[in-house]
Amino acid sequence: MARILVGVKRVIDYAVKIRVKPDKTGVVTDGVKHSMNPFDEIAVEEAVRLKEKKIASEIIAVSCGPAQSQDVIRTALAMGVDKGIHVEVSGKEYETLQPIHVSKILAKIAQNEKCDMVILGKQAIDDDANQTAQMTAAVLDWPQAVFASKIEKGENEITVTREIDGGLETIKCKLPAVISADLRLNEPRYATLPNIMKAKKKPITKTTPKDLGVDVAPRIKIVSVEDPPVRQAGVILPDVDALVAKLKEGGHVP
């Protein structure tokens, strides 16, 4: 049976309208609602389903970030994950922590924990990077099945349907492998109150990049973070004729 590692990131909740800091160094995160990255919920759900199908024996959730990252590990535990690992990175280091660092951390843990599958979200909705799964696979020299919308496990391989630009694609990957979850892989469950209570008893071990031998020296300098250009206010038109006239005026129709 497979041992599965899932990566979970604490991000600003997807429904929050973010604000850029006045000094243009980043976005305001203090006092803002955070939650688990939506794609990671899908990754956790898939791992839990694999366990329910007796394909997985144990699921480990990892999060890299400040102390509050433990909240998303707890959420994962409440969804059915067995144990958590918190890789503490905070302050300045967390501001420049990138997929390249996280992928090395995840690869190290996947090896330490003898995992057969790493399931991550396709992208985090804060940095929108879409890199960690691919890079983790590269560090481990494992195959990658990215943007997965369906996973079937065979003997020593998995068959994965991927969401690509023109439609869908099916590939076969040898195990061990790294998978990234796309939106349509599944519908994540809600953690029930009894499971939230039980999750409090599940273990979370704490470690640091240094313990794992991973260098998190910054690879980028953030020059600025600014608001996007604001669109000029438009007009509400009274009827379809007015719309047709505007489209003609704009040269969109002859």
Partner: protein, 333 residues
């Protein structure tokens, strides 16, 4: 006098030599028959970095694509790798090819379009080079300073990459398409090697067939949301699209409800479009959808809810029942 003169001359020499040292590899995207349009956008992004540009074409059949690209202007060479291992363009097999090519030519920049292909291959390459890639670049300020959007396009980040090799995917809609005419680029074979990593095998593809323009490069896009109520009702949009020679897109809600396939999704996690005209029909305008279309030149929204957030970004709004307004609009155009 002389020292100052030689000083300034040596600065000029250093900087021109430095400029010459910038060299970019563009990884072409294609389907063994034709070139993906985004490769042309990637080429013009490459030209913003410097004029030493090479293109890598890898696949099971490269002929037609090499021929198309050979007409590009200001490109030094096309590197061709035709091998069975590249069937399905699996990242595990393309990565060692790109690494070998990099070893031979020592590029300072490796670049591809930010598509499902580019996003799956380039981060793997970057990790192998131990450099941090930059995804979905929307602007190039200098050889090492790039602009990209974060938080679903709600913030614009400018960053300086400090790694020796810059690995970038670029947003197609943010760069002009380079014309492929007038040039004559020589091609040469890629470094030989056994590129079958034996980790992943391509099995099959199911592509949505459409005679309409491709979503990401269309001049006009018409998208439907949850308000369409069923997949069947999308034929109202197809009729309008035919009148405007438009591509048809959708919101996540419409895809999740099964109205249309996922490759039509416009938004943060779907396709990013920036056409001349974007018509949003029955779409409320969630942050995640706006991320995929708010750079459109003109936005039209048709929605019966006057408070729908889509009206905040629309140039022209029509508060109306789409089932009446859309057929009427189609008829009057």
């Amino acid at each position: 006098m002389i020292p100052i003169y030689s000083y300034s001359r040596s600065v000029a020499q250093v900087s021109s030599r430095f400029a010459r040292f910038k060299s970019t590899l563009v990884v072409a995207e294609h389907n063994n028959e034709s070139l993906s349009a985004i490769t042309q956008n990637a080429l013009s992004a490459a030209k913003k970095i410097g004029d030493d540009i090479s293109i890598l074409v890898a696949g099971t059949k490269c002929g037609p694509v090499v021929e198309a690209l050979s007409k590009a202007q200001g490109v030094k060479r096309i590197i061709v790798a035709e091998d069975k291992a590249f069937e399905g363009f699996v990242a595990e097999n393309l990565t060692p090819l790109i690494l070998n090519t990099q070893k031979q030519y020592n590029f300072t920049h490796i670049l591809a379009g930010a598509t499902a292909f580019g996003k799956s291959v380039l981060p793997r390459v970057a990790a192998k080079l131990d450099v941090s890639p930059v995804t979905d670049v929307v602007g190039i300020k200098s050889e090492d300073t790039f602009i990209r959007s974060i938080y679903a396009g709600n913030a614009i980040q400018t960053l300086t990459a400090t790694d020796p090799v810059k690995v970038l995917t670029v947003r197609g809609t943010s760069f002009e398409a380079e014309k492929l005419e007038g040039g004559s680029v020589p091609s040469e074979p890629a470094p030989a090697g056994d590129y079958n990593a034996n980790l992943t095998t391509f099995v099959s593809q199911t592509l949505s067939k459409s005679d309409r323009p491709e979503l990401t490069s269309a001049k006009v896009v018409i998208s439907g949301g949850r308000g369409m109520k069923s997949g069947d009702n999308f034929k109202l949009l197809y009729a309008l699209a035919d009148k405007l020679n438009a591509a048809v897109g959708a919101s996540r809600a419409a895809v999740d409800a099964g109205f249309v396939p996922n490759d039509l999704q416009v938004g943060q996690t779907g396709k990013i479009v920036a056409p001349d005209l974007y018509v949003a029909v029955g779409i409320s305008g969630a942050i995640q959808h706006l991320a995929g279309m708010k750079d459109s030149k003109t936005i039209v929204a048709i929605n019966k809810d006057p408070d729908a957030p889509i009206f905040q970004v629309a140039d022209y709004g029509l508060v109306a029942d789409l089932f009446k307004a859309v057929p009427e609009l189609t008829e009057k155009l």
